[in-house]
């Protein structure tokens, strides 16, 4: 039984995954900033600290309220906001020393892919990771994920969140923009920037925000923003798929919850005869289960860390992590 602790940004989560990769418990609490404001790292970390004990306790108790002792403790070591990462790492270290169980550091982005692969039964996919922290197209070669394409500036999650903030729409921004977009129908011309397999979203954000300030129609703007931003990514994904010739396309991360994005990436996969593996919506956003799932796989590959070396790494690229458990059986 592996306990996973997520605390990279706005969510504190704890989850148990058993030896057969089944999610036994998954308890999460998310900090929501006021409308029009972004996540303040200190305020988010205060929220995480205030809910941590309750979340862990709930995740470790069974239905008849007896408590389960995990065999392994996994914590999200990065990337993310420093103050937030340190909360989860502290809880992980404490539990590991108290229960005398091994501690496993987990890369939050790798974990997004691991849980998606577990649930959707993907083996060796072209992985599309879209969230507030990542917008990357990856393939697994040798021991590591290799970045085939990525954003050169802000992530897709950033783009939607920052636009939602400008428009005074509530967090999470992706959901708010998506709701508004269903009411829009006129395509407004916005910058479309694809550089090879890379995308760049900052020009798109500026143009959309400027148009908003000039009293542009919000529904049309949300619609056009989604169409343009998702088309850019879909084009990069299609290009990468043709070049890497993978037969599976995995879609993971918080923005993977977007119905329109699922539709578009699914259409790209279908067009090229690849199977489409979108993460179920309830596991798309940050959660304890992803850390538990990835931690279990890492532990089975012999990856552990001593308490004195259990640092957090706020900046940690996907292609710097050894992931020997892929391709999956």
């Amino acid at each position: 039984m592996c306990l996973g602790i997520e605390s990279t940004a706005h969510t504190f989560g704890a989850s148990l995954v058993d030896d057969r990769d089944r999610i036994v418990t998954n308890v999460n609490s998310t900090y929501r900033p006021p409308v029009g404001v972004g996540i303040h790292p200190r305020k988010a970390s205060e929220h995480l600290a205030s809910v941590a004990d309750r979340i862990v306790k709930t995740a470790l108790s069974t239905k008849d309220s007896s408590s389960i002792a995990p065999d392994v403790i996994a914590y999200a070591a990065g990337p993310g906001l420093g103050p937030c990462l340190r909360i989860g790492a502290t809880v992980g270290r404490a539990l590991s020393s108290f229960l005398k169980r091994p501690l496993v550091p987990v890369h939050h982005g790798v974990a997004h892919l691991d849980i998606a692969m577990s649930i959707t039964k993907a083996h060796d996919p072209l992985a599309v990771l879209v969230s507030g922290g990542h917008t990357s197209i990856l393939v697994h070669v040798g021991k590591r994920w290799r970045v085939y394409g990525e954003t050169q500036d802000i992530t897709l999650g950033n783009l939607l969140d920052m636009f939602a903030r400008e428009a005074k729409l509530p967090s999470p921004g992706g959901l708010s923009v998506s709701r508004e977009a269903t009411k829009g129908e006129n395509l407004i011309k916005l910058p479309y920037t694809v550089k090879g397999n890379d995308v760049a979203y900052s020009g798109l954000l500026t143009a959309a925000a400027t148009s908003l300030r000039r009293q542009g129609n919000l529904a049309d703007l949300c619609f056009s923003l989604q169409e343009t931003a998702f088309s850019m990514l879909s084009e990069a994904v299609e290009r990468s798929l043709v070049q890497t010739r993978r037969s599976e396309v995995l879609l993971a991360g918080g923005v993977a919850a977007s119905p329109r994005l699922r539709e578009m990436i699914g259409s790209v996969a279908e067009d090229h005869g690849a199977s489409f593996h979108p993460v179920p919506i309830e596991y798309s956003g940050d959660c304890g289960a992803q850390i538990a799932c990835s931690g279990r796989l890492a532990y089975e590959s012999g990856i552990t860390v001593s308490t004195s070396d259990s640092f957090v790494t706020p900046r940690w690229r996907m292609d710097e992590v050894d992931v020997p458990w892929i391709p999956r059986a």
Binding site: K195, G196, E227, E238, R239, V242
Partner: protein, 218 residues
Amino acid sequence: MDTASLTSTPLHRGAEADLSLATIGPWKVVVKRRVRKKYRNPILDERIRHDRTISEASVIHEAKTAGARVPSIVGVDIENNAIVMTHLAGTVARESLDDMGKSEAQKLLRSIGEQIGLLHTAGIVHGDLTTSNVIVSPFGAPFIVDFGMSRRSVEPEDRGVDLHLLKRSIIASHRQNPASMMNSMIRGYEKTTGKKVASSTWRKAREIARRGRYFAIR
């Protein structure tokens, strides 16, 4: 030029266009038709296909005039978003590179570098440089193809993107040592651009790589 009446056989299905083979007089030609993308909004889709068809045809022609090894433009069919160009015989570098010995691979990379240098000197950036977009002729000379993402630019930024993309494609798709492959490429590049442009472009390419998420100097 009307490509709808040409009899052609399918050749290759790319990411954004279908390539097919046809014969016009004594020439074997390739018809590159940008197909409609189901995932894309129809207005956005038409705009992108139209703009890229025109830009690609004119850039290829300009590259040829500058002496780079690229296909020759035979005609453009704007109504059908299609370009007709001469067919190139050879192998795709992505396929052949891994089968080559180290010195042969280095020689090819040097030669690819020279070609990229010629394009950059002519004020053209490719925009999608990968080993899949290089065709190696039976005599071992590399031809650069697929100018769908290319633009006219002399900015170090855009030139840097070209080298960055090529490097990443070598890291992601090939087992050859990326550092030594890129060294050979740069030597060739320097031959056609001169030292000054070569060093500023390479500096920019490394800077662009660091722009990716979560890069830290360790």
